[in-house]
């Protein structure tokens, strides 16, 4: 990453320092509440019934799922409305590209900032998850980079897309019809083999499923070399394609 993109990270950090209180809830408190409700509440019920989910206690199953899914939601949120703010409503990105920063620096810097925040939120979440007993393996630390990679694989293409938009009308639809179903059905709360047959390939095509599987390998410390490489390749591939599209669409939008 260029030093120019770091300037953007620095700006975001300064904005965050002023306004962080508003974001702590969605980034940290909400996922922990989910973890408590599902992992402890629902999980207690599942485990009482003598059941295990994919061979794991439910809390252990759901912790990495929530971790990756939260990273996806954070990234999607950052990649939609804030892009409209910067390109159209407050036009702050236009101010950036009047300096030595290039559109791609702005885009890359924002992605890096989201990754940084995801790192912090995922680490805190993991600590709480571990304290509750949801992270049996010390390899679980690797779930943080897995979640960050997963988040970035969403940020890159979504922000590439939102820079082509001149109104926000499509954004709620993307959240409701795209992000929300993925959140629920990507092996986050239950294994994808519970889905009807036709839906399974769809779930497997979801970058979130790859992120969840990767995070789950880490928190449970069970690595299958082939599938780990496969998940990483898919996520890196989506990220790379998204980033390429993003450098083009951001250049067109901010310097066209």
């Amino acid at each position: 990453m260029s030093t120019a993109a770091l300037r953007v990270v620095e700006r975001e950090a300064r904005v965050f320092r002023r306004l962080w209180r508003g974001t702590v809830f969605s980034a940290f408190v909400t996922p922990v509440l989910f973890l408590a409700a599902l992992g402890l509440g629902l999980g207690g019920l599942v485990d009482e019934g003598g059941g295990r989910v994919a061979g794991l206690p439910y809390l252990v199953f759901v912790t990495p799922g929530l971790l990756a899914a939260t990273a996806m939601q954070t990234a999607a949120g950052d990649a939609l409305w804030p892009v409209m703010v910067g390109t159209k409503w407050a036009r702050t990105f236009h101010a950036m590209v009047a300096t030595p920063l290039r559109p791609r620096d702005v885009y890359t810097g924002l992605m890096a900032w989201t990754a940084l925040r995801t790192t912090l939120a995922a680490t805190m979440f993991l600590i709480v998850g571990a304290a509750l007993g949801g992270v049996p393996s010390a390899w679980g630390l690797l779930a943080v980079p897995a979640a960050v990679l997963c988040g970035s694989a969403f940020f890159a293409p979504l922000a590439a897309y939102s820079a082509t938009q001149h109104t926000e009308v499509a954004f709620p639809l993307i959240m409701r019809l795209g992000v929300m179903p993925l959140f629920l059905f990507s092996g986050t709360f239950f294994p994808v083999d519970q889905l009807p047959g036709w839906a399974q390939p769809v779930a497997l095509a979801s970058p979130l499923w790859h992120g969840v599987e990767l995070a789950r390998s880490a928190t449970t410390g069970t690595f299958d070399g082939h599938s780990v490489i496969g998940h990483v390749l898919v996520l890196v591939g989506v990220l790379a394609l998204g980033w390429y599209a993003g450098t083009c669409s951001w250049t067109r939008r901010l310097a066209g």
Binding site: R11, R14, V15, R91, H94, A95, A98, R102, L254, A255
Partner: protein, 312 residues
């Protein structure tokens, strides 16, 4: 391109197209260091499109453009590092404080925090915002935001300041304060490149200007030259009660002045001697509702060169 080293900006057949729409249609101009250079033109003339190309945030469609001796296509970041930009629409971080805005912007140029702090003090003083430095930007008045934008654009000590309609939308008092600040910058030797559709602004601030209309340059020179060349020293403005009165009077106005220009609501008579022309008009039996003798201005130049008024 044969460019002598001191030209700050040089454009030849500079063209900008958006799809099939031609926003800037093959313009030539040259901006020297140390001067205040203006683009005067009505809405849609292509002023912002030109400014954005100079500011290296909009690629040239065709023609040639050199800024600070470099090519915007390849050297954008290096050129922008040496320019200050005040865009037509504010782009401030409104949820942050005045001084945060300066700091953040300075960091985009890679300036150290120490340097930024020193310059910020001076610039806040210059922009008359020292007392407001810890306040959020959002509730500031339009004039204050504009001054902050100018202060911000000066944080990198630019060799030229690009101002796109610096005072549009401000009340007269705020506008005069801004003019006074810009005049001070000019005195300090900062090159100003500005666009405006206020002829008064162009007359007050510009050493030299081009008149732009529909993507083309219709005239170029100092404000005084342009008036001398295309308008007359004085202008007699005649207002009539109705359009039919106006039309009825026209035949009797022939020959009372060097040129007679009928507009929708008034008639302009271009003349070297306004009082003599006014007398001649009365002698011809024309009695308009109101008659006014004034100096020739850039507004008149624009009308003569384009056949339209600046407000069109």
């Amino acid at each position: 391109m044969a460019s002598s080293p001191e030209a700050l900006v040089e454009a030849r057949s500079l063209t900008k197209r958006f799809g099939r729409h031609v926003a800037v249609d093959g313009v030539d101009f040259r901006i020297e260091r140390g001067e205040a250079f203006g683009f005067l033109g009505p809405n849609g003339a292509g002023k912002s499109s030109t400014m954005r190309m100079i500011g290296c945030v909009s690629p040239v469609t065709s023609g040639e453009l050199r800024v600070l001796g470099m090519d915007p296509a390849g050297d954008g970041p290096r050129i922008r590092a040496r320019l200050g930009v005040v865009p037509q629409e504010d782009t401030l971080d409104t949820e942050l404080t005045v001084s945060d805005n300066l700091t953040i912007y300075g960091r985009y140029f890679g300036l150290s925090r120490t340097v930024i702090r020193e310059r910020a003090d001076e610039l806040l003083e210059f922009a008359k915002l020292t007392e407001r430095r810890h306040d959020r930007v959002d509730p500031l008045s339009g004039g204050m935001k504009r001054r902050l934008t100018i202060a911000r654009a000066l944080i990198n000590r630019p060799e030229a300041l690009l101002l796109d309609e610096p005072t549009t939308g401000l009340d007269p008092q705020a506008r005069h304060l801004l003019w006074e600040r810009l005049y001070r910058l000019k005195q300090e030797g900062v090159t100003l490149v500005l666009t405006t559709h206020y002829m008064e602004e162009a007359e007050q601030l510009c050493d030299r200007l081009v008149i732009m209309d529909r993507g083309r340059i219709a005239g170029e020179g100092t404000p005084r030259d342009l008036v001398a060349r295309h308008a007359t020293r004085e202008v007699v403005e005649l207002r009539f009660r109705s359009a039919s009165d106006l039309r009825a009077a026209l035949p009797r106005l022939a020959g009372v002045a060097e040129r007679v220009e009928p507009l929708a609501d008034r008639v302009l008579a271009y003349t070297g001697d306004g009082d003599a022309t006014a007398a001649a008009i009365a002698d011809n039996g024309v009695h308009p509702a109101a008659i006014l003798v004034r100096r020739g201005t850039l507004e008149d130049v624009f009308l003569v060169l384009t056949g339209r008024t600046l407000e069109d």
